[in-house]
Symmetry: C2
């Protein structure tokens, strides 16, 4: 198993990324191919004990920056770590590509250099999301801000395949985000998508409201990339608001501070259960290759987990599952 | 000051609604007009000590149920508590209408019986939302699932007028929800709305991401009713997920349970600061009359606060402020 890691992708690249790559190579016993400027990456690698680990470096002189216009950069920066890394996957020299860099750039590079799976209208950026019952899988979370019903149907098909194969959820319940539980509630897009999902072979449970997502009503949550992006970022914001206000109030009261100290183990476990870095790595479903995109703010642990997500997607045959799912649900819309 | 309260609106109507109405009449020293079936409402009133309070009952034989199709019910149920109550406002017999009933029904009844303010394309359901810095005001949160740029511009104008007058925020910062902070990120709708907001007389600060809403980056958060509805319901769900997981983990550990006991005062204050019932009551901005819609699950305190929101909107001259704001920003789009 060879997983490519974009050494230059992420707010804390290359330091933290290379650190995470070393952790992944050690913990999972796989080959982690680091792509980036040879000297820079090797200087970072030298900071770690890499004895016995498989961490080859593939040189790439350019970087797709966070400020770059995605599609332009993906076309023009042919020697960027993203493009070079994806071509390793395309040419069969590696099994998956992972990056915590410019997600729009990664999407554009994947479309341009790997291409779409036959029949797929639009790839979807998707992510695991913690719920009361464990976790669910949301698709799309930002690749497509404006969608058509057929895209959403395909997000459901791809998400369902991923949830079943990688997350091990059998017969996953697929819901579509809307403003009310009753069929007929929601935007024009939702109303037009519901019949497609109902007629598909998926285990479609209908509309889910905002509150139903963290409650864990659906295993696969289908939505357009605009709304999905707001969902994941807002959740992060609400959790941070709650924890921030709690800290503020506790600090005002000495007995409460003692209380928080006694509850420290429990609070740590809460954080662990809800921490995105545990699940870090959003698969870009629908492109013809395994591509995993991590949070720009990823720490080394999140980078390590992103590589793990790539490894699991390869092991569980996600690409094949999606191809089969799409072939079974052919729509010419 | 006479505020109409729909005695039949809400999951716990009429018991809890009448209780909240009695509380409001006592606490604010205003007249609360209860609309609903005379006998039913009077039977509820009899359970309370109403000596010295002004709580007249206006008879209405019908109810717009949660299961009713909104526009149909608003037209046909002419003797419903909503329609009768709104007509009291229309005829100048009351200053504001408040309900915790079917929000779609209230919107339809308001459009049909009160009408829109001249120049307003679509009324917006709007709500106060807790943030790290206090609170912000989100518009729309469910009245319009499919929007045009001009609607969003007007949501900004109305929201800004409300935030300035009722919430006392001077020169409120207006942001539009999008998938990235940079101008040019987002859906077609957002991209087309940004220039309109930028050219308006509003204090427009640009795009805000999901995480920026609870962080309090904007005082007025503009979005379409689909996304806004998901935002408020998801926030509720995430807070409940966090508190639920915390309770679960604390209960597993005796020392943590003791800790939680010591931190009880702090936790109570957190709850109070973030509790929606404190701010309950979402104004329906853009209709020609003050209409406040509460959460269906409102308890008596939330009902009382909903009446207070109506009272404040009247006192602070929200209708006039919106009319002035729209007149200053005339667009023929």
């Amino acid at each position: 198993m060879r997983i490519v890691l974009d050494a230059m992708g992420g707010d804390h690249a290359p330091e933290v990324v290379v650190e995470g790559g070393v952790m992944a190579a050690r913990e999972y016993g796989i080959e982690v191919v680091l792509v980036g400027p040879q000297e820079v990456v090797e200087a970072e690698l030298a900071k770690h004990d890499t004895a016995g680990l498989s961490l080859p470096v593939v040189h790439a002189s350019q970087v797709i920056e966070m400020t770059d216009e995605p599609s332009m950069a993906a076309r023009q920066k042919k020697d960027s770590s993203m493009v070079v890394g994806m071509n390793l996957v395309k040419n069969g020299e590696a099994d998956a590509f992972t990056t915590a860099g410019n997600s729009g750039g990664a999407l554009a590079a994947a479309l341009f250099h790997l291409g779409r799976i036959k029949g797929i209208k639009r790839p979807a950026l998707s992510t695991v999301f913690p719920t009361r019952k464990g976790l669910c899988f949301i698709s799309d979370v930002g690749a497509n801000t404006d969608c058509k019903p057929i895209y959403l149907l395909q997000f459901g098909i791809m998400g369902s395949a991923y949830a079943e194969r990688v997350l091990g959820i059998s017969n996953p319940r697929v819901g579509i985000v809307s403003t009310g539980e009753e069929e007929g509630k929601g935007s024009v897009l939702v109303k037009e998508t519901v019949p497609l999902l109902r007629d598909s072979g998926l285990n479609f449970i209908g509309n889910v409201e905002g509150k139903d997502i963290p409650a864990g009503l659906a295993d696969v949550v289908v939505t357009d990339g605009f709304n999905g992006n707001v969902v994941i970022k807002l959740s992060e914001g609400v959790a941070s608001l709650l924890m921030g206000v709690m800290e503020e109030e506790i600090k005002k009261r000495p007995t409460a501070m003692l209380g928080a100290l006694l509850a420290k183990g429990a609070l740590r476990e809460v954080k662990r259960r809800l921490d995105y870095t545990e699940y870090a790595g959003a698969p870009l479903l629908g492109v013809d290759g395994v591509v995993i995109i991590g949070h720009g703010r990823s720490n080394a642990k999140a980078i390590k987990n992103m590589v793990r997500v790539g490894k699991e997607a390869v092991e569980k045959g996600v690409l094949t599952a999606i191809k089969e799912g799409i072939a079974e649900n052919v729509y010419s819309v």
